[in-house]
Symmetry: D2
Subunit: 437 residues, 4 copies
Amino acid sequence: MEPFYETLLREARALEPAMRARRRDFHTYAEPGWCEFRTASRIARELTDLGYRVLVGRDVCLEEARMGLPSPETLERQYRRALDQGAEPAFAEPMRGGFTGVAALLDCGEGPVVAMRFDIDALAVREAEGDGHRPSREGFCSVNDGVMHACGHDGHAAVGLAVARLLMARRAALRGRIKLIFQPAEEGVRGAASIAARGLLDDVDYILAGHMGDSAGTDAQIGFPTDATLATTKLDVCFRGQAAHAGLAPEAGRNALLAAATAVLNLHAIPRSGRGDSRVNVGSLRAGGGRNVVCERAAMELEVRGATTEVNDYLEAYARRVVRGAAAMHGCDCEVTVAGAAGSLESDPALRRRAEAVARDCLGLRVRETTFGASEDYAALVERVRGRGGRGLFFTALTPCAGPLHSPAFDFREEALPNAAALFCALAYSLQREGPV
Amino acid sequence: MEPFYETLLREARALEPAMRARRRDFHTYAEPGWCEFRTASRIARELTDLGYRVLVGRDVCLEEARMGLPSPETLERQYRRALDQGAEPAFAEPMRGGFTGVAALLDCGEGPVVAMRFDIDALAVREAEGDGHRPSREGFCSVNDGVMHACGHDGHAAVGLAVARLLMARRAALRGRIKLIFQPAEEGVRGAASIAARGLLDDVDYILAGHMGDSAGTDAQIGFPTDATLATTKLDVCFRGQAAHAGLAPEAGRNALLAAATAVLNLHAIPRSGRGDSRVNVGSLRAGGGRNVVCERAAMELEVRGATTEVNDYLEAYARRVVRGAAAMHGCDCEVTVAGAAGSLESDPALRRRAEAVARDCLGLRVRETTFGASEDYAALVERVRGRGGRGLFFTALTPCAGPLHSPAFDFREEALPNAAALFCALAYSLQREGPV
Amino acid sequence: MEPFYETLLREARALEPAMRARRRDFHTYAEPGWCEFRTASRIARELTDLGYRVLVGRDVCLEEARMGLPSPETLERQYRRALDQGAEPAFAEPMRGGFTGVAALLDCGEGPVVAMRFDIDALAVREAEGDGHRPSREGFCSVNDGVMHACGHDGHAAVGLAVARLLMARRAALRGRIKLIFQPAEEGVRGAASIAARGLLDDVDYILAGHMGDSAGTDAQIGFPTDATLATTKLDVCFRGQAAHAGLAPEAGRNALLAAATAVLNLHAIPRSGRGDSRVNVGSLRAGGGRNVVCERAAMELEVRGATTEVNDYLEAYARRVVRGAAAMHGCDCEVTVAGAAGSLESDPALRRRAEAVARDCLGLRVRETTFGASEDYAALVERVRGRGGRGLFFTALTPCAGPLHSPAFDFREEALPNAAALFCALAYSLQREGPV
Amino acid sequence: MEPFYETLLREARALEPAMRARRRDFHTYAEPGWCEFRTASRIARELTDLGYRVLVGRDVCLEEARMGLPSPETLERQYRRALDQGAEPAFAEPMRGGFTGVAALLDCGEGPVVAMRFDIDALAVREAEGDGHRPSREGFCSVNDGVMHACGHDGHAAVGLAVARLLMARRAALRGRIKLIFQPAEEGVRGAASIAARGLLDDVDYILAGHMGDSAGTDAQIGFPTDATLATTKLDVCFRGQAAHAGLAPEAGRNALLAAATAVLNLHAIPRSGRGDSRVNVGSLRAGGGRNVVCERAAMELEVRGATTEVNDYLEAYARRVVRGAAAMHGCDCEVTVAGAAGSLESDPALRRRAEAVARDCLGLRVRETTFGASEDYAALVERVRGRGGRGLFFTALTPCAGPLHSPAFDFREEALPNAAALFCALAYSLQREGPV
């Protein structure tokens, strides 16, 4: 192993206690998408202290390109809670109202621009309790009821900070620029588009991201997905009709629940595509009030997914037609809002080969091919970079995991974090010093 | 009993064998709506022989106001069968193509114009067999497979001919004009509108019609419905999509069956009205072809009904919206055709009181109040007459009936026919000689 | 006018200010069904002070026959609020947990037993604001957010207290027993059954109840409905399936929302009945959680209604079949709970004739026939009384009303209250002194 | 090229005119599945004349394992037509009633048993007309209205006869046995199971089949699909309810169309599977009769497909649940019949490598990898052979094709037929003489 890589891996592993501490801190104070005021402001403080040029707030996220925002009241309530729970006020203030992205820039002269994405938001999942769940047993369960890091983004954030520390220590060895992106609202694929649209990536040659993954009985440490993630669109639909007394004058109503029920069935019945895998799900429906009143309002949250962006587009267009038709049938209005969107994501093949070589040959990590299956907001960043001639990579940091992703019992082993941090750094070095892929 | 009425009733009863013979002839050669070439041409021949001025074909039915016509091929095939089965060629010829109405006019000088409506079509019902069914036992079952007089119109036609004979014999006693209308295509409420639109009734002061009805355990002979018939609209809907291979490229299709199934459920789910009784029925659906082909075409026959024309209009408008919305949802076209329509029908109260008095007091018949429940095409004629200041009456000729109306086992007793014929004549006489109501 | 009635009417009218004050107090502190702790305890206090033998709590409502109870948490929260808002602790305590009925008994010796029902609960309606709404203009709007007396039960309670006062003052003139029933949870037809089941009415000869009603442009003061109220059943349905990741493994889920949507459409599509008017309404549906999770749980509130108990039974049985079939289709369980039920209600014809005579001839009130249309929990009480040979009456106290019943703008004029109070008392007197009907 | 193969290919090509003549004869007299009386009896005659031991009728197809049979009337009508159109009576007679399989056996001593499957049925497609369609231009369009060889089975049958001739001429060079299977009713995957169940394949070591395919702009001659065909199940569903008059007594009916419409939507809404591609299609629905009658009967034809047999089983089980639930909801009965079924089909990898080598290296044909996509009844035969330790191969004979498979405009070039015939023979020789794969 070349000395640079050997030292890197050793130092990354020496950071494991620090990474564990940070990961557990983030886990304890889990924050949902667009509300990562505490998480993001503490990241911004640490990056600033490390010597990075740090951007936050509207300098990172373009206001009008944000999707799926909570209500202003929720944003404000979460902001105040974050301050109570230890947010850094100076950095949190410009994030107020849902601008919780952070970017850290490091200029090491002429050379390729390498960006890395670390997502930082938690999920609306109530964390498991009891001794069977390590965060509970070891005392770092989420204190924020109904919000949990059930997708490992607490680990991603900790890896990002370790990468920042390791790269700053090696700045003299680098050639080019480094951009560390700490992204809000990955869950629901809502946040990446606002970063892409802000233009921060328009000079990027390579963009890298990783995700915690289950080693599933193997001893592999790094995985490279061979499948594309599913393209997806998240839609919020609100049907509005007219209330009426269901006994005395049902004919005077316009029944939003009949419209919604028709939409639910027909959305799930959208014909499958011969051009690739597809998915439809209406995840929630909230409709009506009094039992004896014709339902006036029905709100649903749905998503479509496709193996390719083309398949996803087919589904989205069909879904919009279904929703409009169902509303029209029952004399209702309907409003459709995009609450999230991501294209299909595949690693650049050449970049992936380089990454495999670096992981296996330079760092001595155990590597395997995996599948990923779900959707990833990161697709929007890769698409932006690719559109300007750059390349993107997506890998997984593998450990034995407890519980499936997004479940209340999810947990991973923190030994995996140094491997991921080392790979990010090693790949940046390789790309800036060992030639383009 | 006044001698006029006494003689009338006696002579009507003397015609019972003739009425039975004609009724059984019509029953044997049952013809569906717009195809009554044999029935109507033989009626026209008899009316002519009796001395009436007789109109047939386009002189009775306005071409463009006919609804729910069979295909030209069916009309032609039925026309040829009618000739084979004894139609009168001279009268049938002008009826060719679905102009099977007959009107007989009698001018008795100054006085009120009294019209009577007799409907003559049969139903698409396969007649019962076996000794339990009198037409089978006594040998006058329909020879036309799948077509049956299951609504008593064979009786109505026989009554109409007896009325024609009785009135012609009494022409000297009458003052005014008589119009006997033999109407095609009452089933499906398809025929009356074309007669109304032709203008034949525009000078009519009183219009009368009757229907066979079940005396239901009573000994009543004549019934007067106290309820209104249901207003109704019959719609034919055709969804057209796009075929595609269901295995290889379902996304390339536009699925007419999904549109139709959505429409079926939502049509039946049209909210009830607080303003009066309502009905919806999709009676038939024919959709698709190959099992592995996305359905390209779906045709449905439906009807709506309402206690009032207003309720019926609410349903029709809603049904049209449902159908359009269902088509739009799945990218299909849809075509909606009115195949029949009738308003709500109620007898004029004053005319009804006169009719009750004539039936009970002048003719000595046993009278009772009844309900009718269903829809009646006759409503279009009454509406036309009423719109010009006239009055309409609807009554039932009661007998013990076998089987419900429209069932394969339906039958009535021919003893009831003379009562109906006598009442028609007596009422005409009363209205022309005993003063207006 | 007989002196007894004349004095009665005058004294009833003299109580108008007291009735207005109480009505406005109840209106201000509106309480939903089973939570009328303040209203009922203050009624119990006043009845006790008047000298009645008063029953409350489990002595009035049979625990297991109560329907549609709020959660224990809600009951407790509402109980505490009632204490804060001036409930009478001694009477409220036995009502804790949802036993908010009150009965007042007066024994005047041998003679018929006359019961009267006054319902006291409010609705989950947010009251209108602004000068156009009299309660707002005159300062007695509900202070309990989202709960409003939008059905006039505040007036019914005030009438009941005036009746109690008037009858106690006339106890010497009465012969028999008086039972005043102050009923909780009439809205949703949830409360009467528990009173009937408790057996309080099993010796009753006559039961009387009234409802505020709109005089609708006439000057009538008392109305007697000629139609039956609609029989009704209220059902809560909960579908339980299995959650799964909608992207990775939708086939592993059991989709409760597909079951619910199927049920919604098919419930509304239950065929109309030819035997009488019917209604179906799914008033609310709450389903699912995360957008990308197969929906695990869907809860709906629905009601059916029928012109007769037979029609209602047809609908309820069909609805249960729909719900079970929809669940089975998607591998879900479903639980159906009766949250309310009432039969069809018609006044006893003879008792109604007596009441009309008393109102018009003895009290000199302007009387008319009306229709009522909706459902009434009182039906359960009348059914119990009728089942033991007694008779029931339902009338309306008419005034010009603002807004339809159950709307945020509903209001009535308090001048109508004395008329109702006088009619209750006059009828009790008539029944006990002027012979049976 | 080895002399055996060189001669074989030359002689196969010399048979092209004969193959073209036969293919066009079969094309002209296209017969649907289970009705191939003319086609099969003429094949049996020719095979007998060539010297094969020939089995037909019940010796080939196990009666009770046949699926999706036409009605006895249709079978008889088609049988008579076949006799009129030149069927061989002696061979057709044992096929009467739908036993239209033919097997030809050749025993060449010790060695592997090699079976080949040729399917012979046509489709319910109305053939295109006009000069743009070669069969029309060159005068061999189907004379049987509404039936067309739109899937190339006319070519398969012609190839099979050429193979029979070529192998008989080389019998001395072979070692082992040859079984040529001419299979009925491949369309709808209805026929293979009856041949498998008959036991004819239970000693087979290798089974081979091919299909015409589009070279799609390439110059390839033989294709080897890399994907598995979709497993599939074809279901016929009949809902039976109760008719009733839709105006007078809709509550007396049990509406089979409501059940069917609910099933259609929910079938298409069966959740996609994360375990592989899936398909659902309700291809046809025939429901109801009179517009004003509650629908009594609804018959639908549907299919499900899955990337694997497991996925297909998931869909079939779900579909059965949907159908039962929909029937139960509306008080209907339902009957579900399997009208066809096939598992997923993949060539044995080793056998495929041998076939590629033989095609490319021994015969000099241009070979490529392709995808197939649809379902194939042949899967049942391969499964049977594999279950006893044998191996199966599926390849495509590529030519430029007009129109997609199953379309009225489908056509292929007959130059492809000799290649397919040569490959069958060459592979049989290789397997019997050059060692096992």
